[in-house]
Symmetry: none
Subunit: 189 residues, 4 copies
DNA sequence: CATGAATGAGATTTCATTCAT
DNA sequence: GATGAATGAAATCTCATTCAT
């Protein structure tokens, strides 16, 4: 499965045949893959749920103990970028499969990934930390800005991820903050 | 070529075989596609350049006569969303091909699409309309938020594009505006 | 037809498609070929008979007025090599078609080409100029040695055809001459 | 591979598609051929080297212990004809591939087949057994006369190979022997 | 004479999958 | 767990041929 993830991440969904996965895994036959997984869809589904579980666990760890919604949003952005740095192929493979695999895409996706973000945004609005905005649109903007990163890195490999994270945090702080809140500029927190 | 664009947009790059394109075009054989295009890569390249030309023309039309960078940014967002409404398959096919086709991806892409956006952002910073930020990151965030739209629509077909446009405009107005500028809120313009 | 001959000679029977022939002829469609010839076999048959006619005419010209069989044999060898020098593609195309086209191969071949040679050999034996040998085998040896030339030239483009001709003439003079005949060495003729 | 050799020998290079080879091999799909060989060129290359190896081994066996060049030449002719009798398809396939496959044709060919013959001829000239002649031309004549045999058989299936061998041996004995050598006629060997 | 659209057959090749070993 | 033979489907591409213009 590790080889499958890496192959999908490197070559893309369309090129990730059993033959190429087996090659990367050091296997001389694709038979073993078919033996362990019920089919290509099964393999894809297992990869998706594996990566989503791993990602979900990571996000919960990183966001534990957060007390305010703006901190949670910043933490979300930084945690996801940090995850990319350590498990970049996982996310690229996930994106490939969610986009192009004929996956169910049902509960798993929304529940684990994006709706966690929507929850944060809603929380911020309810506690008066965030201005009113459409939660779905804002969540999509954050999510897209984050998962566009691998693409950006392909075009510009020297990209500094820390700078990218800082910029995105500031971008969405300004986009979400309530109008009168000059807090950050005053350095109060 | 129209059939090819629609097929790629609907079924995705991986599923858009010559057979399916021919079927949609009402052809009884895939031979004619190979007859008109030198190969699959040629077809893809011609689609990309066709769509980029069309898109570039549209954007220039819509942004003609704009005098300030913030207006240009708003216009860029609204023009691209409007383009999606009229030529949705074009953009979806373009995204598929740029992401998964082994395309050259060279001058054409950056020049026509994203770097137009970067030019706007730089212009705004130089004229004092925009605060300092990393132009590349901001451009990527805008672009990703925009081309994530088709995906959003797939999950939520009832999505109101005008609302989406308004929200994005406001989001990135706040994200780019210079700190002291309370102008908009005062309703002066 | 000239383009067809050249294409077959240069690329070989298997690669000589209508498309490539049309290309060489400066045509933009293969339709015209199908219009002028009833089919691929028809084109092949017409090429074969055309080349055989041309070759037959040439050989008759060159061998006219010969009075002895040994002179005829030498003339045959030299005339065929000379023909190769001026109409090399004709012979190469002919060989390709006779070998690989599903041609009839009936009367035309034997009559015009080889059996002319066999006639010479039989004539020499009847007039006592040639020793007894199997006419078929000797004719095959001469013919093969001759039409192997293009192959030899491909491997060694600097080959001197005059030397080749001299060597073959001498080779087959010795192979055919009656035992006691020391005439040539004595320079009497 | 056996089926491939037979198919090429029987139908010729142009007609020997994977489908026909698979059919002869009793396979229900051509996929297996692509599975075992990297491509059509690979299959061809492997056939060529296999046949050349086999032929080379045979010729070395047959020519072992020969002490004079004229014996070697006679042995060469008889051994090759004998090989044709037992492994006719091998040689026909080899000829097809060397003529029409876009093969490398490099070392393997010359080394194993023809240049063995040239070595014999040179040896004979150095030891005074053979008259002076162009070794390349003579070798080509011998070789062509030999591999023209299958063609001859196609036109005349009743051909007696022993007679053919005898005739060729005598033909090239006379063509190569030094002028004064009356040895054979005296029956000394 | 010439073009270009169109077609059906067939070629090579890749793929997922099954199965015996 | 692992291999390799085998298969049928599908993909890209080429080809000869037809036909309307």
């Amino acid at each position: 499965m590790r080889s499958a993830i890496e192959t999908i991440a490197d070559l893309g969904y369309a090129q990730a045949s059993f033959a190429r996965i087996a090659e990367r895994a050091g296997l001389k036959s694709t038979g073993l893959i078919s033996y362990h997984f019920a089919g290509k869809q099964d393999l894809q589904a297992e990869i998706v749920s594996f990566v989503l579980d791993d990602l979900s666990r990571w996000m919960h760890e990183q966001l534990a103990g957060v007390e305010r919604a703006d901190q949670a949003l910043e933490g979300y952005i930084r945690a996801l970028i940090a995850y990319m740095q350590t498990r970049s192929p996982h996310l690229r493979a996930l994106a490939e499969l969610l986009l192009h695999g004929g996956m169910s895409w049902d509960a798993s996706d929304q529940a684990s990934a994006t709706s966690g973000l929507e929850d944060i945004l809603r929380w911020g609005q309810e506690t008066g930390t965030f201005r009113p905005f459409d939660v779905g649109v804002m969540a999509a903007a954050v999510q897209r800005s984050l998962d566009g990163l691998p693409l950006l890195q392909k075009g510009n490999p020297a990209l500094d991820l820390d700078v990218y994270a800082d910029e995105l945090v500031e971008l969405f702080r300004r986009a979400t903050v309530v109008d009168g809140s000059a807090a950050k500029e005053d350095g109060k927190w």
